[in-house]
């Protein structure tokens, strides 16, 4: 509708040094209010120590129809995983 506050996506970093993680979204008139609202909506139980907000229409996203071209190439590259290689037991942990 004409006077709806824009939508913001909210990212929160938890206590233990992990990356910020997307937790949800909310409406707010500006970034400052978005952070204040995110505090109330998404961190009522010590869920985080840092908040990022970004206006949802500034996020560019891959499209579901690109799934094939984007992710199929990595399916055939099993050698990227350490388990591809047999290390003799005598060598020990590696």
């Amino acid at each position: 509708m004409k006077n709806e506050w824009p939508l913001w996506e909210v990212f929160i970093r938890g206590q233990h040094g992990m990356s910020h993680r997307h937790v949800g979204s909310l409406h707010a008139p500006d970034a400052e209010m978005a952070i204040k609202n995110a505090r109330d909506v998404y961190t009522r139980r010590n869920e985080g120590v840092s908040i990022w907000v970004v206006e949802a229409n500034h996020i560019a996203a891959s499209s579901p129809s690109d799934k094939g071209p984007l992710y199929e190439p990595s399916e055939s590259k099993v050698y990227r995983h350490p388990t591809f290689f047999d290390i003799p037991e005598e060598v020990g942990a590696m």
């Binding site: 509708m1 006077n3 979204s25 500006d30 209010m33 909506v41 009522r44």
Partner: protein
Amino acid sequence: MYAQMVKSEATQDDPEQLAAFQARIDAGEKIEPKDWMPEGYRKTLIRQIGQHAHSEIVGQLPEGNWITRAPTLERKAILLAKVQDEAGHGLYLYCAAETLGVSRDEMTEMLLDGRMKYSSIFNYPTLNWADIGAVGWLVDGAAIMNQVPLQRTSFGPYSRAMIRVCKEESFHQRQGYDAIRKMAEGTPEQKKMAQDALNRLWYPSLMMFGPSDKDSVHSAQSMAWKIKMNTNDELRQKFVDQTVPQAEYLGLTVPDPDLKWNEERGHYDYTDPDWSEFFEVIKGNGPCNTDRLAARNKAWDDGAWVRDGLLAHAKKKAGRQHAAE
């Protein structure tokens, strides 16, 4: 439940696409907002998630009614936190619905003019403090029954919202049980109030699960799409089985003379609520329908200048920043 009698929408889509969609759901894949989905799936979900969100918001009214009259400062702080959680639940759910292409304001307007519903339970009054305990115990208890399986629903944003909600619900039910236990173990007058609250709220709580399966016309499609995970009667039975021993512990009597354990079924036999009352409440003729909608309309109208003012301020600030760059 918080979403009762959600009408499922007919779908007119390409049969091949429909089959591929159903196969994804059957394989346990999550459907995300940008994925192809049948129009009926989208519309049914908007209605269901919207109704669920509205229930969280309207559900704040009967409890908010007692915040300033809580018997102790601790109970007041607890109830305030509980009601604030419900606001949060509403917001998580509105956001999930918005990913389906409906705006927040559209949903709000549909609630305010009666085009969208909220759970019948919130059209019953909370007459005294014992009711607040009973609401947490029974109403949140019934909500949990329905929300736990919905964590596995096929629509990604709805499932994620339910996971957040479920993390918070256990506090709601336990604080309610704790409050009513205090009364059930208190003076004879207090115990009488606890019993009276159970008497009044028992059947409305059973109604939360929606009409009985034989009258539930929209279930099959929603269950195939995994936006409804159990039938109404399944959940109602589970709720009765769970709640009866909790009432017994309190020394309270469930107001159902025909309630008894059925050894053969491994469940309690119980009396269904009066469905004609349920349909009246749904139609708008419950004890508090008018009050609830009036309160939501007033909040929306009274808040308009704040919403407009903050947006105007934000635009002005952004304009100034732009000019300075």
